[in-house]
Symmetry: C2
Subunit: 248 residues, 2 copies
């Protein structure tokens, strides 16, 4: 089982869009996928049309050992389950005393999946650290703009601290260029920088800017159900192929 | 003096870009402006070319009463000062015990400005609440996409709690449509929704998607210095005119 946290403290770079569409793409390739929403805004659930406010149990109950993963998951479609979040998770983000190993312990007994994908909030607080401790791999969605490089160094620093302290085995295994327009000089230049700094980590597939990706959540659908022939669907399909090749 | 917090817990909607360019636009109209960076990622400072890591004092020292505002501000250009942030501010975000009135008390004696503009991190934690308590007005930058409406209801709820508790005078006085493309049906439809819910709050000026706005921070410049004839400069200039008209 591959356990991957999708992290970048910079806001709006495509963490949720990437977690959702990689998950849906892998499920179409017959891999069993569990999406875990660690963002109190619960955008992963909203974007999949799950009535998050009405759920009796969420990931917080699992973290507090009040419910098991199996009792809490919501089935989205064949091979794709979601461990939903809720606003009440925000309280955990604000309590430094919260243990960094809660999620790792909660997921320890989970076996029936091929992939665990953890969506994170736009910060490096307790919830993101929990995801770093529970995962074995880190994917970093990155928008090739000025502030991208600045956030990377901060993220690497935090990851080093987490590694040393609680999860020596975790490693960055992929950087994903998101919202990419090759016509934008800024995108091309920043990407060249990223390739220079992290030569083997950048996936070949660039996720192009594509409005279908922003529209799909309004219908509670992933990109493959919403517009299977769009650039967004092609790019995430290609990305899934690369991810599966990594695992061989 | 107008004290305005620029808030939206949704990441990447243009909070920093808006705070920076409204600030620079108002300074060009000879208003004295203090920008306050309440985001530990310190993107406001980075985007203005301020060497944030090397500063001896930041907004955290002011919050902890270790330094005055006057000793800590960095002058950016005529009429434009910055109270810079730093990574160490993140600790405050994670301690629920931190008082919500720290910023209000720290700014209480500040008088030599016409505008205070507070940039916030992408969450509704302690730092954003401090900004809501210190401000008298709230501007909400909003990207007209699916998740925008969902975050609005959450923001309004938090604002109501803050009002009742610590700052009854604060009110939303502007919603700014950012990264807007009128060719995108999604943008047009969501904006129609926003207009329906908040008829008098949406500024006439829409900030169009414009790559110059994403490029300017790499040069440490505001949009007026970087590309004065770009769509981005025109839009923020028009927005500043509307803001000044409000104050009459
Ligand atoms: N490749 C793309 N092309 C066009 N729009 C995109 C693309 N990827 C994401 N978006 C849109 O950009 C916005 C931000 O994406 P998303 O919410 O996935 O980012 P995030 O990093 O999860 O944000 P947050 O930091 O708030 O959690 C959303 O409205 C989404 O629909
Ligand atoms: N109108 C626009 N046109 C094109 N790019 C824009 C526009 N506004 C902002 N951007 C770019 O979008 C990205 C996000 O903007 P910005 O950092 O200002 O958002 P934010 O809400 O402050 O993000 P965060 O939630 O991380 O604090 C930046 O790379 C910025 O340069
Ligand atoms: Mg997200
Ligand atoms: Mg910002």
């Amino acid at each position: 089982m591959r356990a991957i946290a999708v992290i970048n403290q910079k806001g709006g770079v495509g963490k949720t869009t990437t977690t959702l569409n990689i998950g849906a793409g892998l499920a179409r390739e017959k891999r069993r996928v569990l999406l875990v929403d660690m963002d109190p805004q619960a955008h992963l659930g909203h974007s999949l049309g799950v009535p998050v406010h009405e759920l009796r149990r969420t990931v917080l109950d699992v973290l507090e050992s009040k419910a098991s993963v199996a009792e809490t998951v919501v089935n989205i479609k064949p091979n794709l389950d979601l461990l939903p979040s809720s606003q009440s998770l925000a309280a955990a983000d604000q309590s430094p005393a919260a243990k960094k190993t809660l999620l790792r312990d909660a997921l320890a007994s989970v076996q029936d999946y091929d992939f665990l994908l953890l969506d994170c909030p736009p910060n490096l607080g307790v919830l993101s650290v929990n995801a770093m401790v529970a995962a074995r791999e880190i994917f970093i969605p990155l928008q090739a703009e000025f502030l991208a490089l600045q956030s990377m160094s901060r993220l690497l620093q935090t990851l080093k601290e987490v590694c040393a302290d609680l999860n020596p085995g975790v490693a960055i295994t992929g950087i994903i260029a998101t919202r990419f327009s090759k016509q934008k000089k800024l995108n091309r230049e920043v990407l060249k920088n990223i390739q220079g700094y992290f030569p083997n980590l950048l996936f070949e597939t660039r996720i192009r800017e594509n409005v279908s990706l922003a529209e799909a959540p309004s219908f509670g659908q992933d990109i493959f159900d919403y517009r299977p022939r769009s650039n967004g669907a092609q790019d995430y399909r290609n990305l899934c192929r690369e991810i599966l090749k990594q695992g061989d």
